[in-house]
């Protein structure tokens, strides 16, 4: 049985970690063919060919596939679908934009954010912000699935898949790209970082969020934020961790000035070690924390930086 995996390609570059984690999940289903699509995607395809467990790589380069617009990408995948029983991708915002569209074109349900593979038809996925886990069995002939990357280990390298060039499908011409606002950062990427330091509304301002960033840099960590911190303008949207933000499961997650609403916990409660610093001893974050410190963050964080 064959699996088509949409690689995460951004501006010609492969997001190796997300793609390799999806390969691990996809390999449980059958032979994995990776699709690298973009305005430029050849280099990403070559890189994907080296991921262990990848049988074949398809490279589709076309201007219409740049900037990850949903309509041309979904049209391409749907045109390839007859050869595959499973069509999968890492559960990134790009995949969540494209895969449901693919599924509807094929008249099948999409299975979003899968956290476990039971067999080729049966999958586990969190629902209700991770407060329940549902096991579902698909009765569709084709399965369209996004995999929650935080629950799968990345496949290693050492693969040597063949690479084939294919052409794009006809561009429906429904949308066009205008601009990206992406902040460049030297910090590790949030969803693949080993350590994440997150700040919440308790941090109080954009200036004081530098404190959180300082601790993160000290620990070589990525920076995260609660929705309240993002809504208040202390942190950019792509730092949001939670039900509707990113899902992370690092070795160490440090939550500072975050109360621990279920929507936030949904994005981090699978972290290996959780540290919470909050001045309210009743804060629900302490219920999931391995180590809780009841303290004012403006005292505790500088002291922590000094002693680490």
């Amino acid at each position: 049985m064959a699996v088509l995996l949409l690689a995460e390609v951004t501006d010609g570059a492969l997001a190796l970690d997300a793609t390799a984690k999806a390969v691990t999940a996809a390999a449980k289903l059958g032979d994995v063919t990776v699709l690298a699509a973009g305005a430029s995607a050849a280099a990403a395809g070559e890189e994907a060919a080296k991921i262990a467990g990848v049988a074949k790589v398809l490279v589709a380069e076309d201007a219409s596939l740049g900037h990850r617009l949903a309509e041309p990408t979904a049209a391409l995948i749907a045109s390839l679908a007859s050869d595959y029983e499973h069509i999968v991708a890492p559960a990134t915002t790009d995949a969540k934009n494209v895969l449901p569209r693919v599924a509807a074109l094929l008249d099948v349900m999409v299975i979003s954010d899968v956290s476990g593979v039971v067999d080729g038809n049966t999958f586990e996925r969190p629902i209700y912000a991770g407060n329940a886990v549902q096991t579902v069995k698909s009765n569709d002939a084709k399965k369209v699935i996004s995999f929650r990357t935080s629950t799968f280990d990345a496949a290693g390298d050492g693969g040597s898949a063949s690479v084939e060039t294919i052409s794009a499908a006809e561009n429906p011409g429904l949308s066009e790209w205008v601009e990206d606002k992406v902040a460049a950062s030297d910090r590790p990427e949030l969803t693949s970082a080993g350590v994440v330091v997150s700040g919440g509304r308790g941090v109080g301002s954009e200036e004081d969020f530098k404190l959180i960033e300082g601790l993160a840099d000290k620990l070589g960590a990525a920076v995260g934020a609660s929705r309240a911190a993002v809504d208040s303008g202390y942190a950019p949207n792509d730092w949001q961790v939670g039900q509707t933000g990113k899902v992370v499961a690092p070795e160490l997650y440090v939550a500072i000035g975050i109360s621990g609403a279920i929507q936030h916990l949904a994005g981090m409660k699978d972290s290996k070690i959780i540290v919470a610093i909050n001045k309210d001893e009743e804060a629900p974050i302490f219920q999931v924390a391995d180590y809780g410190l009841v303290a004012d963050l403006f005292d505790a964080v500088p002291e922590l930086m000094e002693k680490l």
């Binding site: 309509e71 509807a104 209700y128 912000a129 991770g130 549902q134 606002k181 302490f286 410190l293």
Partner: protein, 252 residues
């Protein structure tokens, strides 16, 4: 331009979800239900478009159990003009899948001919994040998902989207499906006089059969379980103790 807003009745986001002991699902009997938070944002955006003279009618539609009437009344009280309830289930525990919802919505779109559909990005019960994209595929319309800014300009809409890398702005052809994210706006509360007025606004009742859509699920639910619980942690007395514990655990 007419704007269609699909609104879903879901468990209130403040309620602590309880998984039923027999693994058959989540307990929804006697639990507070509300409009999906993202859909409140979609309704609000539609009202703002109307206030700005860019929309002239707002139709809200909900698919599910009869009780979804209350959700529609809430949307009417916020400022929607008209509502359509599509009864597709009798048991509050039956969730209609995004594919079936999208098929019904596609029929409603055919009938109503809106220029824009504003949906939520995700329902907070099934967390699927799929219906808008699916509807867009079925209609062959453009899609602008996860919108944090929306600007309608004649035949096009400019949509700023919240994506993993930051923000992406795209221009989509109208008619379009836009799914809204949390930071698009802050929804208003319905005032008491508007709640009273909403009772008189039209609410049409239909069934899935009226639209000829088969809503039987493609995904069979085998079981619903509690997530693995975390082992209890400890409260440390000082930063020194915290650093000590983290070193012991090899975390720093």
């Amino acid at each position: 331009m007419k704007v269609l807003v699909p609104v879903k009745r879901v468990i209130d986001y403040n309620v602590k979800v309880r998984v039923k002991a027999d693994g058959s699902g989540v307990d929804l009997a006697n639990v507070k239900m509300s409009m999906n938070p993202f859909d409140e944002i979609a309704v609000e955006e539609a009202i703002r478009l109307k206030e700005a003279g860019k929309a002239d009618e707002i139709v809200v539609v909900s698919i599910g159990v009869k009780q979804a009437q209350e959700t529609l009344r809430t949307a009417l009280a916020m400022g929607a003009d008209r509502a359509i309830l599509v009864v597709a289930a009798d048991d509050v525990h039956t969730d209609i899948e995004p594919l079936a919802v999208a098929k019904i919505l596609a029929k409603v779109v055919e009938e109503e001919q809106p220029g824009l559909v504003l949906a939520g990005k995700q329902a907070i019960d099934n967390d699927m994040n799929a219906t808008g994209q699916m509807l867009s595929a079925l209609l062959g319309w453009s899609q602008g998902t996860f919108a944090s800014e929306l600007d309608i300009d004649g035949d096009n809409a400019v949509v700023t989207r919240e994506v993993d890398g930051g923000l992406q702005t795209i221009k989509v052809k109208m008619p379009a499906i836009v799914t809204v994210d949390l930071r698009l706006n802050e929804p208003r509360y319905a005032s008491l006089p508007n709640i009273m007025k909403a009772k008189k606004k039209p609410l049409d009742e239909k069934t899935a059969d009226d639209y000829g859509v088969d809503v039987s699920p493609r995904l069979e639910i085998i079981s619903t379980t509690e997530p693995a619980a975390r082992a209890a942690g400890i409260i440390v007395g000082s930063v020194d103790e915290l650093v000590g514990k983290l070193k012991e655990a090899g975390a720093v």
